[in-house]
Symmetry: C5
Subunit: 255 residues, 5 copies
């Protein structure tokens, strides 16, 4: 679970509420119709921009920004080195008995393929294609999020323009002018908040997670191929260690 | 047919209309002269920017964002594997009898060339040139759409400036000031809506479709060349499968 | 002659004039001092940005956006194939007699070099250097145009700031305030129109033409080298055809 | 210590204060709630955008923009050349006695590895991985800083919108309107100042330092490898000198 | 001397002054405190962004945008060809006597190295390192200029915000409101002018000069290496001519 995403969202809303409460009533800022226009309009434009399936798939992607099992790169290396030792001693088929230790589906699949005697080239091809598709899916999720972030302020301004035009066209009552303009500006506020607190930062977070997840999967591919080729466990460890900073490496060895 | 494009456009307009109706009259927002200025000016500027032929060709391109036969990548692979089996058994000439099964013109052309005994290098060259030209055409269509999206808000602002200047130059009647400013802002609203609901999102959709269409055509080229070289149907299938995610692959095999 | 450039410019002005006439007097929008400031200031800044020679050379470049002999790629291929046939039959020296058929200076030069017996490497080097310099010149022209397009709105705003400051500093007469602000806004309108109707779109058109012109010249180089090396005319044609879409190719063959 | 960072920050604040004091009271510009909203909101959004660990690690990174021991590239070359001479005369093990001369941990580690007889390939791999991770860490720090710089003005505007809406909704007292608007604008001022004096320029400075630090470490790697392979000290010096401008080189030789 | 830089700067100021004088008094626009804030604040932020040494070195860089000896590429080629002839006839040592003909320090250094019998690889390495450092220095100068251009409008807006807040907080006297706002806008005007007349265009000019200077130095390196390897003067000329357009080449030959 990435506490920072939730924390950031809550803190952002709290800071804005705090600023509001200090000087006036937060009720003024609750305008469902405005929220409806900005969110709805932005979502509609995103539907024009991406296939429906991808837009609906965004929900699953967003989850990644909040929850994700932080796969320890150290644990993964330790596991692969253990597997390498066993495979060295008892042959690669022996790994089948240890499969329940593996929780990551990607790694499980890969080891199963190795145990099944898949050709190294084919194994690498299958795993890298899967990784490439994962990366594509991540990239698409991130870019939909960025599109949301780019369109939200524009739709906030569209709402404000609608409000301003309605207000200006009926200035019989100068007293209502202030309130009308205040309401008109609320959509711009909503659009800015959505873009600068939710969509754009979340696109950034998705990009970070994707990078992390892909790096660990690349390490898994290298590890499986190294085990399959019968490398000495020490060499497997050395190869995998090149993915992490030397400073971290030494810390691990001390343990 | 891509339902999301149409749905998004309709929803976007509905959301804006809803916001208008809740607070005033939609009639105020119907200003043909403003629409004429923004669309006309943007179109004129696009004509300065692109050859007339390409601008006129945009109509055909836009259709792609709404309608397109979703060519199933799985069906295409299945078809190519079937063809590979027949070619293996009865020789490549036997494919001529199965030509009516192929509906895609690009694939039909390619198989015809193979049946006609075209040299592999020439066949690849012809098909890749055609693909490159398709890609160029797609890119041009997308970039014209993006130009529309970049110019529409600018022309909306030009309209607002014209309106503001006219209004400010004749402030003898302060009562008319509000309405004048409201009318002036309508072009900015039009420009923003066009850019953020229609042009820019549609350019995004065109880009997505293009990527999909080109990927399936690359698969076709690989398939035809593999059949022509007399590859074993299993190998043809394996080669083509590298275009799709392993998860999808297995699903297919179960069928 | 590219009708779209002229048409776009005229239509753009007509649309703006139409919007003005519908609601007021176009005379209000004629302010030579404003035009002077925006154009002059933009031009001055472009002079700081580019060598004087390049800025003055822009006039010749702009012509390309309006007039240009649409060199038919099909005619060029046909001509080169004819030359290849003659060179095959009567030797490359025979081409000297057909030189008057060639109107394009670049092609003429290249054939002359081939006839003179220039080494293939040197010939390619000379022609590609010339092409590279042409491309550089085109790129510079386009980037000066883009600089004009980027600076014009900024100078429009500078003019508006000058006008606003002058107006605000002397608000003894509130009646003149409206007109003063109207005049101040005119420079912003001028700057926006110049950028969004003339400069930026024209930079786009220049880029399109450059791409076209360079593509046809690359085809010429390939053709001359192929003729010089004594290729079979059929092979010359096949090589050159790779520059055009297969669909176009077949159309030509039917003729 | 980089005096320019501190100097720039102080001067920037002094210039703004000076401009304020000349025309009014600086007390008006002290609004803790506004500062709280802009900084807090920006920070919250950065937390949504980056993992918490990286955001907290920014403090260490910021220090780099103020303090950093300017590692002299000349001293480093001189040291490495001295080490090369000793290693040539007395063998690489002799370097162990001179280790206390080395203050840079990266260089110390590298020499220790060489003395320990690490294989050249492994040594290079370990040091380059460490360098790559350093670069990654620098890049992340810079990009968090840039995110701060991009979000601060947006949150300044969010604060101004909140203030404007509150003010407009309660225009019973026209006298308070001016002060209300002044307060509303303060968040925009805060956001602009943070972005344009602190965050964006500091991101630039971090980038400069990173480049410098990485260049000197690349020189160290090359030097250690050259010493390890037993190169003649003159050749070591020549290799390392290619990192610095020839003009600087000659200056050194004169010394 | 590049007349266009000076001309552009003077013309830009003249155009603005002309627009001011036509409608009011230029004295209103002279506000030293505003100029102080915008320039000072921008400069302070640049100091946070770049090392002090580089910022101070900008003065020398700026000179390049005004004065620079237009090194004739034709003269350089002619000189190198003359040197090649002499070196061919009398040996490379004979060039020492002609050294006073060479005014360019870079070329002088290179020829001296060749005369001294430096190894070709080392000579190329030394000269290319020097060139790379020159390019780095040019790039840094340009990017500092661009930073000035990006920050000036931001600091102009900061000044305007300060002015607006001060004015709005003390609207007891509505008559002073106009003048206060006028003064507030002056910093925005200053910032826009600096960015759009001086900094950004000058960054462009610096980039152009750098490209030119580096191209001529690359030609020098190629020439020296060609002379050193004892190439025939005709071949030296041909090699160097590949740097200039064929059209220019022939013009030279006619002379």
């Amino acid at each position: 679970m990435d506490i920072a995403t939730l924390l950031g969202l809550i803190l952002g809303v709290v800071f804005v509420l705090f600023a509001i409460v200090m000087k006036g009533s937060p009720l003024l800022f609750l305008d469902p119709a405005s929220a409806f226009l900005v969110l709805g309009g932005t979502g509609a434009a995103v539907c024009v921009s991406y296939p429906l399936r991808d837009v609906l798939g965004l929900v699953g992607v967003v989850k990644n920004a909040f929850f994700y099992k932080e796969e320890s790169i150290h644990d993964t290396i330790a596991l692969l080195v253990r597997f390498a030792e066993r495979a060295r001693r008892e042959g690669i088929l022996a790994l089948e008995k240890q499969m329940e230790e593996v929780t990551d589906m990607f790694l499980k699949n890969g080891i199963q393929l190795a145990v099944d005697g898949t050709e190294p080239e084919l194994l690498r091809d299958i795993m890298e294609t899967e990784l490439r598709h994962l990366e594509e899916r991540h990239k698409k999720g991130k870019s939909i999020m960025e599109t949301f972030g780019a369109l939200a302020p524009a739709w906030g301004m569209i709402g404000t323009l609608v409000g301003l035009i309605l207000m200006l066209a009926s200035i019989e009552d100068p007293d209502a002018l202030g309130l009308g303009m205040a309401l008109a500006l609320i959509t711009t506020l909503y659009g800015s908040l959505m873009a600068n607190l939710v969509f754009t930062p979340m696109a950034g977070k998705l990009g970070m997670k994707s990078k992390q997840e892909i790096q660990i999967r690349e390490l898994m591919i290298m590890g499986i191929l190294s085990i399959q080729s019968g490398d000495n466990p020490r060499i497997v460890e050395q190869k995998l260690n090149s993915f992490i900073a030397p400073k971290m490496r030494r810390m691990k060895e001390e343990r």
